[in-house]
């Protein structure tokens, strides 16, 4: 069917207007992805920049190295712990602030402060604050009669969990709080009339309706947690040994300390391929409305 002149004009305009976005996507998403994917199959190192095709050698080297499996294990475990805690705390805070009380605005602002700080800067701040000799936190604990070495091998992983939770709980809180703001109040009224108490309303009314929001928060935080780099790199550089090496730190070290870009790209590609199957599953849940979920 032939297009009318008006329709053709409209189509041309829409193509023209979307060109900048397409150019951006090509330059900063498609090209890096393709280049990275290609590098994963090349002998690309700082010593050999010829970029010759080497099949799956980089992947073989990757799976043979202990470091990759260890860093994957640490990353998955760390992410599972921090995301769980952040979801629970974020939900709790959102419920708490979903009511009016004196000083709410100030409290709200205080809660959001940590996500406004760049992660690397947060790492440097905590490196100073938690230093056993000059840090305020050990001094405070010492004043209370507690002697804790926050950077000792036994306490460094819990410390990293606490710092991640401190920085990213505001993020989950913000998303869930936004969801609660648009929560249909009549549903709660109806459940109250049916005799449901606060806990039952929470489990059977609020949570199902907020399911897409909760999935969105969970998905975004999980993706971000799996990419954790800055704070851990600044504080521990992945050590002692490799005990706090995340996948991002592993990839960074492979590329910029070992100069093995092929292996680093292969590791990044493996992570991407492992994550892709979860995307449609999560997107489906985010896209469904809470009301549908209730039905």
């Amino acid at each position: 069917m032939a297009l009318t002149a008006g329709q053709r004009k409209k189509t041309a305009a829409s193509v023209l207007l979307s060109l900048p976005l397409m150019a951006f996507a090509l330059a900063f998403i498609v090209y890096p992805l393709l280049a990275g994917g290609l590098t994963a199959f090349q002998a690309s190192t700082i010593f050999d920049q010829s970029g010759s095709f080497n099949g799956i050698q980089n992947f073989i080297a990757l799976f043979r190295s202990d470091g990759f499996a260890k860093s994957a294990g640490f990353t998955v475990g760390f992410s599972a712990i921090v995301v769980t805690i952040e979801m629970v705390l974020g939900f709790g805070l959102a419920l708490l602030l979903n009511r009016t009380f004196p000083g709410k605005k100030l409290f709200f602002t205080m809660i959001l402060l940590p996500i406004m700080v760049a992660p690397a800067l947060l790492g440097i701040m905590f490196r100073l604050l938690l230093n056993g000799d000059i840090g305020a936190v050990p001094a405070l604990l010492h004043g209370m009669g507690l002697s804790v070495s926050l950077f000792s091998p036994s306490s460094v992983v819990p410390l990293l969990v606490v710092l991640d939770v401190l920085q990213w709980t505001p993020f989950t809180f913000l998303i869930i709080y936004a969801g609660l703001q648009s929560f249909p109040g009549e549903l709660l009224e109806a459940s109250a009339m049916d005799g449901a108490g606060p806990f039952r309303s929470l489990v059977h009314v609020i949570m199902p309706v907020l399911k897409p929001v909760l999935f969105a928060a969970f998905f975004l935080r999980t993706i971000d947690a799996l990419r954790t780099f800055d704070v851990i790199y600044v504080l521990t550089a992945g050590g002692p040994g490799t005990s706090t090496t995340t996948l991002s730190i592993y990839i960074y070290k492979a590329a910029f300390e070992s100069g093995d870009f092929g292996k680093a790209a292969a590791a990044a590609l493996v992570v991407l391929v492992c994550l892709i199957p979860f995307v449609p599953f999560i997107v489906k849940r985010i896209a469904s409305t809470g009301i549908e979920a209730q039905r």
């Binding site: 330059a27 090209y31 280049a35 690309s44 920049q49 000059i134 091998p153 040994g241 070992s258």
Partner: protein
């Protein structure tokens, strides 16, 4: 059909444009010998000193040469990361790279050898550390090594006090299996270092004036491998022997065990598992440790009343116990893909003169030229010590293409054992295997 062709042509043009933007340089050229030279530097005392030398060159000799040097400051932590990315893309954006003894072997494929530069004024160990396959790939700029920095008041009090000396003998008997008298740090060996660490720690000596004897730099960091290497070399060890990895030696085992003993016995702060230069400075400045093996750059600030009010004037400097100190030079190298090599060489030739290095010293740097350090001794009390120690005790680790990675890998393999998290033998076995692989 026409629409499809439009999209295909558009996509091809766009891709070509993008790829052209990301294209790499085919190779460097000599250029006209004049114009602007772009040089990487990093912030901090070395970068500040270099900025003043550059300003002096641009205002004087540079005008005669018709060369202007532009310094591009990158962040201290990411300088080498960004340079690696530039080298990987064969970029000609920078004419001169900021390099160091520990990465010149890795960067050599992207650098031009510096032929015809007179290096006789430099410390030979600094020049050797910048050679790869017998060719010089970088010009030494700032030299770094280690010292034992210690509290003079505490050590003097110990030596003078017979009761304290008797207690030290008792502790050294328990720690070393032999009673030792307290000695001046100038003549300590690594066993004295260990016994002193125990004596000045509350865990072994509740009357100790400091909480911990020392602070180890045990974070998983390549620079900490350099400090541990002093202990390894001090015990007579080395990374390699006859081209083979040699970390299964008894010296290597003693070197790791020394760290592990100090850590497990709480003669260093438990937090030293994440310590590096700043944490060591903080421990000495706060008076919580009596001594530490530390970088040469630390001495001046520890004796500066404004920066270290608690300990200024009480910090002494001595060779590293065991008598060996790692030496590395920060350096500058010529980018193989530079489009202006001739002008860059003019600037590098100027930089290699005693006049330029004197300016560098006056601006706060520690140049790798013994004559300049001696002439400028009044500027920094550490200059004389640096000069003496490097000449007498300095060593450079083997330079091979993967030296930079080796430092990192050893920190990764050994840092767990330094703090007692991994058995010493297991860590050394892994480290030896990894080092052998890197040696090729």
């Amino acid at each position: 059909m026409r629409g499809k062709r439009f999209w295909a042509i558009g996509a091809t043009l766009l891709t070509a444009t993008l790829l052209a933007g990301c294209s790499t340089s085919a190779g460097g050229t000599e250029g006209s010998g004049t114009g602007t030279v772009k040089m990487v530097s990093w912030p901090g005392p070395e970068g500040d000193a270099m900025a003043k030398v550059v300003a002096a060159y641009n205002a004087g000799q540079g005008k005669k040469d018709k060369v202007k040097v532009d310094v591009v400051l990158l962040s201290r932590q990411d300088t080498f990361t960004k340079e690696t990315a530039l080298m990987a893309s064969k970029s000609s954006n920078m004419d001169i790279y900021w390099t160091a003894s520990y990465n010149v072997g890795q960067y050599a494929p992207s650098l031009d050898p510096l032929d015809g530069i007179d290096t006789s004024s430099y410390f030979p160990v600094a020049v050797d550390g910048l050679k790869y396959k017998s060719k010089l790939y970088a010009l030494p700029l700032d030299v770094s090594n280690h010292f034992l920095l210690y509290r003079t008041d505490l050590i003097e009090a110990l030596i003078k006090d017979p009761v304290a000396s008797a207690e030290y003998e008792k502790i050294s008997q328990s720690v070393l299996g032999e009673a030792r008298a307290p000695k001046d740090p100038q003549s300590w060996d690594l066993e004295d270092f260990k016994a002193m660490a125990a004596y000045f720690s509350k865990s072994d000596n509740p009357k100790s004036p400091t909480e911990y004897g020392t602070i180890l730099q045990a974070k998983n960091l390549l620079y900490n491998t350099m400090i541990w290497n002093d202990v390894l070399w001090g015990y007579g060890g080395n990374w390699a022997k006859d081209g083979k990895a040699n970390l299964d030696s008894s010296a290597a085992k003693k070197a790791v065990s020394l760290y592990a003993d100090i850590y497990k016995n709480k003669w260093t702060s438990p937090d030293s598992s994440q310590a590096e230069f700043p944490e060591t400075q903080a421990a000495l400045q706060a008076g919580s440790a009596a001594f530490a093996i530390q970088w040469s750059a630390a001495f001046a600030s520890l004796n500066d009343p404004a920066q270290s009010p608690q300990v200024a004037g009480k910090i002494g400097i001595a060779p590293v116990p065991g008598g060996k100190t790692h030496v590395h030079a920060l350096a500058v190298s010529l980018n193989k893909y530079s489009k202006n090599k001739a002008a860059s060489k003019r600037w590098l030739s100027y930089l290699a003169t005693e006049g330029a290095m004197s300016k560098y010293a006056e601006a706060g740097g520690i140049p790798a030229m013994p004559k300049v350090l001696e002439a400028k001794a009044s500027l920094n009390p550490a200059f004389t010590k640096v000069s003496e120690t490097i000449a007498k005790n300095g060593y450079a680790e083997p330079v091979f293409p993967k030296t930079f990675e080796a430092y990192s890998k050893l920190a990764e393999d050994l840092s767990g054992a330094w703090v007692g998290q991994t058995p010493v033998d297991d860590a050394l076995k892994t480290a030896n295997t990894d080092l052998q692989e890197l040696l090729g």
